[in-house]
C-alpha cells in the first residue's frame, strides 16, 4: 500500500534520458523551471509542454506513472485554477453577482494548471531516471565550489546518500510491520481521532527501534572500515560530460531562448 508513493522513485532503464549526466539533468531541470516562470502566454507554455511531453516519451517510462505522480497535488491545482479564474482583470465575459470571469482569468487559470503539471512532470523525469546515488553525487559535484569556504561537502553528500538509501528500506519495513500488526487485528482506520493516533503506536515503536538499530549498525560498520569524512576519496563511477549531454544543453538553451521570445510576442492569439 505504501508502494503507491511514486514521487521520488527511481525506475531503472537505459533510455537517452537515463544516460544523461546527472549534473546536467539537475541543472537542466532548474533551467526548465525558470523557463516555465517566463512562459506567460499560450504560445510559450505550449512550447514548453510539448517539449516536456517529448522528454517523457524519450524516457521510456509508462505515462501512467507520470499521471500518478500528479495526483499528490491535484487539490492544490484545482484550487489555484479556481482562484486565478476569478482574479482576472479586463472585460468580464461572464457575470453572476459580484463574481465575474474575464478572458484573462481563464487564460491565467489554464496557464497555472499547465505550469504546475509541467513542473511535476519535469521533476518526475529527473527523479524517475536518476538513481538517488547519482543525484547526491551530482549535488556533491555541483557543491564543490563551497569547499573554498570550508563547507564539508563530502560529509553532507554522505548524509544525503544514507538518508536516500534508507527511504525505500523504511517504507518496506513499515509495510511489513503494518501487515504483521494487521494480521493481529490492528485497525488503522478508526473513526475517532484518538484511537487512530493510538493505533499508530504498534507501527511507530518497532519502526523507531529498528531505525536506531540500523543507525548503530551502520555507524559501527563505517567505523570498522575506518571511514573518515575529511579524507578525499575517489569514486567507482566518475561523471563525464558526453555527446548527449552537449546536445541536451544546446536543446535547452534553444528552448529557453525560444520560450522567452514566444512570451514577448504579446497576444498573438493562436486559440
Amino acid at each position: 500500500m505504501l508502494g503507491n508513493i511514486v514521487l521520488g522513485q527511481y525506475i531503472p532503464g537505459n533510455s537517452l534520458i537515463h544516460k544523461l549526466d546527472p549534473r546536467v539533468k539537475i541543472l537542466l531541470s532548474i533551467v526548465y523551471m525558470m523557463a516555465l516562470f517566463f512562459a506567460w502566454n499560450y504560445l510559450s507554455i505550449i512550447v514548453v509542454t510539448l517539449s516536456v511531453l517529448a522528454l517523457m516519451f524519450l524516457s521510456k517510462i509508462p505515462v501512467k506513472l507520470y499521471i500518478k505522480s500528479t495526483k499528490v497535488i491535484i487539490l492544490f491545482m484545482i484550487l489555484s485554477a479556481f482562484l486565478n479564474l476569478f482574479y482576472g482583470e479586463g472585460e468580464p465575459i461572464f457575470k453572476i453577482g459580484f463574481i465575474s470571469i474575464t478572458q484573462q482569468g481563464i487564460q491565467s487559470s489554464i496557464l497555472v494548471v499547465l505550469r504546475i503539471i509541467d513542473l511535476i512532470f519535469i521533476s518526475s523525469i529527473l527523479m524517475f531516471t536518476t538513481s538517488p546515488n547519482d543525484i547526491t553525487f551530482a549535488i556533491e559535484s555541483l557543491m564543490k565550489p563551497l569547499e573554498k569556504i570550508k563547507v564539508n561537502v563530502q560529509e553532507i553528500a554522505m548524509m544525503m546518500t544514507i538518508a536516500l538509501r534508507f527511504i525505500p528500506t523504511f517504507l518496506e519495513e513499515t509495510d511489513k510491520i503494518m501487515s504483521a500488526q494487521k494480521s493481529r487485528g490492528a485497525k488503522f482506520n478508526d473513526k475517532s481521532m484518538i484511537k487512530r493516533i493510538k493505533s499508530l503506536i504498534p507501527i511507530l515503536m518497532p519502526l523507531f527501534i529498528s531505525a536506531f538499530r540500523r543507525a548503530c549498525d551502520l555507524a559501527l560498520a563505517m567505523d570498522c572500515r575506518c571511514y573518515d569524512s575529511s579524507k578525499r576519496r575517489t569514486r567507482m563511477k566518475t561523471l563525464k560530460i558526453g555527446r548527449i549531454d552537449i546536445f541536451a544543453i544546446i536543446f535547452l538553451i534553444v528552448l529557453f531562448v525560444g520560450v522567452i521570445i514566444c512570451s514577448k510576442m504579446k497576444n498573438i492569439a493562436i486559440i
Binding site: 501512467k64 510491520i177 487485528g185 515503536m205
Partner: protein, 286 residues
C-alpha cells in the same frame, strides 16, 4: 471437509511496472480441517506470498480463496475471517512493540474482542505453549534474545485462537534446541486443539516429521501436493527444483541401492529405525 479452498489463484507484484514479478500462477488447492500441511520450495518460489494471501493481507490478482466456506473478499476480508487465520510472519520479531511481554501477547486477543479474563487465560496458555517461563510476562520484549522474541511473537498469534495457524519459517535462525522445542510445541498445539496448521520450512526433516501432506512450490506453481512418503520418493525431481530429501531417507535409499532388501518409504528417524531393525532381524533369521 475442506477449511481452505483456493481456485485459479494468481498473484503479481507491482503489476504494470517494469519491476513486475509473477509470484503465483494459477494455484488450485484444497486443505482439510485438522490437517498439518508443510510447504517447501526454494527461495523465491512464492511460499510467503501464498500464505499472505490466505489471511487477506494482499488481494489476489485473479482467482479466489474460500475459508470455512466464506470467500475472502470485500467485507469478509477485514474482519472475522482474516482473524481466524493466524499468520506468524517470517522473522516475526519486529512486530513486538509493547512495554511488557504480557501486553504484547494480549494485543491480538484484545483486538479480537476477548474479555479481560479470557485474554489473561490465553496469554498464560500461549506462553506455556511456546515454552517460555511465566516470569517473562513482566519483562520488556526488547531485552529478550532473538529466539525468545520469536517465541513471544508466535505466542501472540496462538493467543488469538486461530482456527488455521500459519507459520512462515518459524525455526529459521534458532539454535538446534530451540528448533526442536518449537517443533514439539507446534505438534503438541495441534494435538491439543485439532486445528489446521500450515507451515513453511526449509528443513526437510521437520516437514517430514509433522506434516500430513506436503505442498511443493516451484516458481510460483504447485509442483506436487501429497503425503511426505510420496513426495520424498521423488528425490531426483526434487533435486532438480533445488530441494532435497530428509537425511534418513537418503541413508535408507543408499542401503537399498547396495542391494539390501529394505523398505525405503521412510521419512522420519523413527520409521528409519523400524526399517533397519526389520532388515537386521530378517538377516539374522536366515
Amino acid at each position: 471437509m475442506s477449511v481452505l479452498e483456493i481456485k485459479n489463484l494468481s498473484y503479481i507484484y507491482n503489476k504494470g511496472l517494469p519491476s513486475e514479478t509473477i509470484a503465483l500462477k494459477n494455484i488450485n488447492l484444497s486443505i482439510n480441517a485438522g490437517e498439518v500441511v508443510g510447504i517447501i520450495g526454494k527461495t523465491g518460489s512464492g511460499k510467503s506470498t501464498l500464505v499472505q494471501l490466505l489471511n487477506g493481507l494482499i488481494e489476489p490478482t485473479s482467482g479466489n480463496i474460500h475459508i470455512n466456506g466464506k470467500e475472502l473478499k470485500g467485507k469478509n476480508k477485514s474482519e472475522e475471517v482474516c482473524l481466524d487465520v493466524g499468520l506468524v510472519f517470517q522473522y516475526p520479531e519486529y512486530q513486538l512493540f509493547e512495554e511488557t511481554v504480557y501486553k504484547d501477547i494480549a494485543f491480538g486477543p484484545r483486538n479480537k474482542g476477548f474479555t479481560e479474563e479470557k485474554i489473561k487465560e490465553q496469554v498464560y496458555n500461549s506462553i506455556k505453549f511456546v515454552g517460555l517461563d511465566e516470569s517473562f510476562l513482566e519483562r520488556s520484549p526488547f531485552e529478550l534474545s532473538g529466539g525468545e522474541k520469536r517465541k513471544v511473537a508466535i505466542a501472540g498469534i496462538i493467543a488469538m485462537e486461530p482456527s488455521i495457524l500459519i507459520l512462515d519459517e518459524p525455526t529459521a535462525g534458532l539454535d538446534p534446541m530451540g528448533r526442536e522445542e518449537l517443533m514439539c510445541n507446534i505438534i503438541n498445539y495441534h494435538k491439543a486443539r485439532k486445528n489446521t496448521v500450515i507451515f513453511i520450512s526449509h528443513i526437510m526433516e521437520d516437514i517430514a516429521r509433522v506434516s500430513d501432506r506436503v505442498l511443493v512450490m516451484n516458481e510460483g506453481e504447485i509442483f506436487d501436493f501429497d503425503t511426505p512418503k510420496n513426495i520424498f520418493s521423488r528425490r531426483d525431481e526434487l533435486q532438480k527444483i533445488g530441494l532435497n530429501i530428509p537425511q534418513i531417507t537418503k541413508i535408507v535409499r543408499m542401503i537399498k541401492e547396495k542391494g539390501y532388501d529394505i523398505n525405503d518409504k521412510v521419512v522420519t528417524i523413527e520409521q528409519g529405525e523400524e526399517s533397519l531393525i526389520k532388515l537386521i532381524k530378517g538377516r539374522k533369521e536366515k
